[in-house]
C-alpha cells in the first residue's frame, strides 16, 4: 500500500567549518561592486551554504545600523541554447527574483544597461548588498556579461554590492576564459569534498544512529568509511541516503547495521545502472 512517508526527520542545515570559511572569505571582500565565485562538485553544499549565509545575515540585520544590509538568494534557469539577448534575460531573472515583477513592456523597451540601472536602483531601494546567484554555471558567457554590468554600475556609483556566482566546476573555466569577467572576480571559493573525519562529523549531526557511533569500533568505522567511499564526501547525497535509510528501516523494522546500509545503497545503484544502460 502506498502512503505518505510518516515521521519524517527534519535534516536541518548543519554548520560546518567549510561553510564558515567560505562565508568569511566572501564577506571579507565585500565593497563597492565586488564579484565572488563559488565552485565545487554537485552536492558539495554550495546551495546549502548560500541559504545558510542568507539566514545568518537576516537574523543579524538591524534597520538603523549602517553596516548591516539585506541579502538575496536566487537560482537562474540557465541560458537556453540559441537564446537571443542572453545578457538581458539574465538581468530579467535577477530583477524578478531579487526585486519583484518586471513588466514585459518595460523589459522589451529597455536596453541591457538600462535594466542593470533599474536593478541597481531596486537593490538600493531595499538596501540589498549581497546577491547570491546559484546555478550560474548554466548561464552563457554573454549572460554573465549582463550580470557584470550590474557589478560595474555599483562600482562606478560606489554602492557596496557583492554578486556571488555559484556553480559547478565548469563555471570557473567559463569565467576564466573571458578576461573582462575574470579581472572583476575578487575572490574564488572552492568547496572541497569532505574527508572521512568531516563525513563522520556531518553524519553525527544529521542522524542519531551515527551520533551514537564510536569510530574506534570497527563496525562503526566501517559504516562511516563505506558511506564516505560511496558518496565521495558529498553532503547532499549523504542526506538523501539518510532519508532512504530511515524509510527502509521503518519498512523492515530492524536496527541500522552495515547490511541495511549496503542494501539501501544497492537499490539506488542498481536502478541507476539500469537507467544508464537503457539510455545508451
Amino acid at each position: 500500500m502506498i502512503d505518505f512517508p510518516r515521521n519524517r526527520r527534519n535534516f536541518d542545515i548543519v554548520e560546518t567549518k567549510q561553510m564558515r570559511r567560505v562565508a568569511h572569505e566572501t564577506l571579507d571582500v565585500h565593497g563597492g561592486g565586488t564579484m565572488v565565485v563559488w565552485t565545487g562538485r554537485q552536492g558539495i553544499g554550495k546551495t546549502t551554504t548560500a541559504q545558510w549565509l542568507v539566514a545568518q545575515l537576516a537574523e543579524r540585520y538591524e534597520e538603523d545600523h549602517p553596516d548591516t544590509f539585506r541579502t538575496r538568494y536566487l537560482e537562474t534557469g540557465g541560458t537556453p541554447a540559441r537564446s537571443t539577448k542572453p545578457g538581458k534575460k539574465a538581468l530579467r531573472t535577477v530583477f524578478t527574483k531579487a526585486i519583484g515583477p518586471l513588466d514585459e513592456g518595460v523589459y522589451r523597451r529597455a536596453e541591457a544597461e538600462d535594466l542593470a540601472e533599474l536593478i541597481l536602483a531596486g537593490l538600493k531601494q531595499q538596501n540589498v548588498q549581497l546577491v547570491l546567484i546559484d546555478e550560474a554555471g548554466k548561464l552563457s558567457v554573454d549572460a554573465i556579461r549582463g550580470l557584470v554590468l550590474v557589478r560595474n554600475l555599483a562600482h562606478t556609483e560606489g554602492w557596496d554590492l557583492t554578486l556571488v556566482l555559484i556553480g559547478m566546476d565548469n563555471l570557473g573555466g567559463m569565467v576564466r576564459s573571458v578576461p573582462q569577467i575574470d579581472r572583476r572576480v575578487e575572490e574564488w571559493c572552492y568547496f572541497k569534498p569532505y574527508d572521512v573525519a568531516e563525513t563522520y562529523t556531518l553524519l553525527r549531526e544529521l542522524h542519531p544512529h551515527f551520533a551514537d557511533l564510536d569510530l574506534d569500533d570497527s563496525e562503526g568505522r566501517a559504516q562511516v568509511e563505506y558511506l564516505h567511499e560511496q558518496y565521495a564526501g558529498l553532503p547532499a547525497q549523504m542526506v538523501a541516503f539518510l532519508r532512504k535509510l530511515d524509510h527502509r528501516q521503518e519498512r523492515v523494522d530492524r536496527e541500522i547495521d552495515m547490511k541495511l546500509i549496503k542494501a539501501v545503497h544497492l537499490t539506488t545503484v542498481r536502478d541507476r545502472r539500469l537507467a544508464l544502460a537503457d539510455s545508451r
Binding site: E63, D64, P66, I99, G100, P101, L102, D103, G105, V106, R109, E117, L118, A121, G122, K124, Q125, Q126, N127, Y226, R251, V252, K259, L260, K262, A263, V264, L266, T267, V269, R270, R273
Partner: protein, 667 residues
Amino acid sequence: MSTTREDLKKEHRIVLEATEVANLADLRVVTTREVVEALSAKERTTLDKAYSRPVKTAVGRILRQLRAKGLVFSAGKIGRCRYYGSVDELDPATAELPERRPRRRRVLAFVRILVDELGRAVRYADVVEGAEKRDELCDLTPKLIGRDLQNLTRSGELVVVGKVRGDGRGRNLYLPGELDPAKYAVDEPLTWLEEVAAAFETLWEEETAAAATEVRKPRPLSTGLVRSRLASEKPGLEQLEDPQLLVNAMRQLSESSRPVVQMIRRPNEKALLWAPVDVDDESLDVGDAYATDSERVATAVARAEERRGRPITILDARDEIELDPTLRPAGSQDLHVILWDVSRETVAHGDERRSRRHQRIVRLGRVEGKTYYSARGDERAVAQVRTRQLESRWKRLDAPGRLLGIKGCTLPTVAAGRVMLLQEELEGFRKEMDEVDTTGDLHSTDRDLLDRLAEATDGIIERLDQMMTELGDVAGDLPDVRDDTPGLTPRELQELLEPLYPRAAEVDDPTKLVPLLEKAIRRIPNPEHESRWSEDHDRACEHLFDRTDALLEAAKRWGGHQCRLHAMMAQAELGCLRDPRFILPALDEADYQRRLRSVACLAFVRSEESFQRLQLVAVKDPDQGVRDSATWAYGFSKTNRAGRLAESRSRSDERMDSGESIRWWRM
C-alpha cells in the same frame, strides 16, 4: 545439514552477506547476478583473487554450497535463473518467485483490456497512448509495441478488422482473434481526416434533402461550411485553429487512393467548392434569379443562418454569396451598407421615418466588433447573440487571470479588496447569465456554453469565497469595496500624456488616441455617457480611460528608475482595485517589503488620507528605503507640496537620495 556463519570461510561469508543485502534491498529472493551486484568493489576483488573462474560463476557455486549447508534456500527458477534467499532474512515457507511474463503476452493482454474499455477495435496509436499511462507497461516503447502488434497479427492472435484514413499514427484496426468484429465496430471518426469526411457527408446529406424539397439540383459546399459545421459540433478541435489544415484535409480527401470528394473550381472564383466524388458536374446547381440586392442579401442571410444554425455576420453572408454567385449584389453598394439598410427598423418616408412593414433581416447586436444579423429574429436568435456577448464579456472580465493575480498579491488587505471587487462583478455577470438562461428555446450549443460559463463562474466564486475565509480577520475589518474608478476622457488623457508621448501632442482630435492606447490602458464605462452624437465630448464617449492605469502606463513607459520600479510594484499588487481604503492598512505592516509596496500603490491611487499618511511614512518609517519611496510617492501624486517635504527630510536624514525624486516631480 545446517552450518553456522562462523564456520564459513571468508569467501562464503562474503557471498552469504551479499545475498542478505540483496534480499533486504529487494525484499524478495534474488538471482546470482543480483547477488554479484550487491558485492562491494573490495569484496569482488577478494573473490576474484580467490577463484580462477569469473566472479559470477564462483558466486553461483558458493550459493549452491550454502544451500547445501542450509544457510540459503532456493524458491525455484524462472527460465534459467534460480532465485535464492538467506534463511536469516527471508522465510523459506512463504518466499515467492517474482512475476515475469514475455512482452508479447503483455501487449496482447493489454490490447484485450483496451478493446474492452473502448468498446471497439483499436489502432496502434491507442495502444501506445494507453501504455504510457500505465506504470506496469512503461517499459513498452512505441517501436516494441508496433513490432509486437505485427507479430501477433502474423500469428493470428490479433486480426486486422478495418482501416482508417491515416494521420501517421496507424491505419490498421486490431481486434483479438476470438472477438466478433461486428460487436466492436468503430462508429466514430478516429482521425482528423475522418472527422472532416464525416462532417462533409452530413452536410451533403442535408444539402441533397434541401435540394429535393426545393426542387432544384444540390449545390457544392464551400470549405467555410465544413469549418462551421465542425466548429459547432466539435468546439475546441485543435486543428480548426489553423484554417489551412482543413483545406489540406479536403485536398487529401480528394487526392487519396480512395477519394471521397472532388474539387469544384469556377472561373474567376477563388473559393474552392466540394462535392462527393461520385456526383457528376451536370447534377450540380450554381444558378437562380433575384429581383433586388435587398432580396439577394436577405436570401444569403437566411441561407447562411440555416446552414450554421445561428445568427450570422457579414463574413458568413459573403461565404454564402461565394457559394451561390446569383446572390452577389448587382449594384455598387458594399455588402455591409446593404445589410445595414435591410436591417433598419424604420424607413424614410418624406420628412418622417416609419416602421418598416416587412423586415427581412434583424440586427441583433455586436460581439467583439462583429454585428450579427438574423432572418428569423426570434427569441432563440436573440439568445444566441446574447450568449456570445456574455462569452465575450467573460473573456474581457478575465476572471481566471485576475484570480491568479490575487494569489500573487502580497498585501492581505489589498488582496481582500480585489476579491470583493471580483465577487461583485461576477455576481452581476451571473445575474445576466440567469436572464438569458430563462429563455426557453436555447440552442444546445448555447445551452452548453452557458453551462460552461456558469460552471466557470461558480467555480471562481467558490474559490473567492475560500480566499475570503482564508483572509479571515483581515477581511473582517474592511469596508465594502467601492467601484467608482476615476476615469479620464480622451481629452484629459491627452493633456496628461502630451509632455511625455509625442503622438499625443500631434493628434488634433483626442478620440484618435483611443485606438492607439486602448490595448495598453484599461477602459471603463463612462457614467456620464449620453449619446455618441452628444455635443459635449465628455458625454459622447462611451468609455473612459482608467486614471490609475493611465498613470501606471505612463510611469512604466516614460518614468525614471524610481517611477518604473514603483509602477511595476503597484500594478502587480493592485490589479483592478482602485479603493485606497484597502491599501492604507498595509502601511502598518511589520514587513518592510509590504510597506514599500503599499507606498507604491498609494502613488497611483490617490486620496486626501493617502497624502497625509505618505507624509508621515516619509518621516517616521524605520526603513530608509520605505521613507525614500514615500517621499517620491508623495511628490509624484502631489507635486506642489513636495518641495517642503524634501527639504525637511534632507535636514534630518543625511542618507536620503533626493535627486531622482525631485526630477520625477518636475515631469
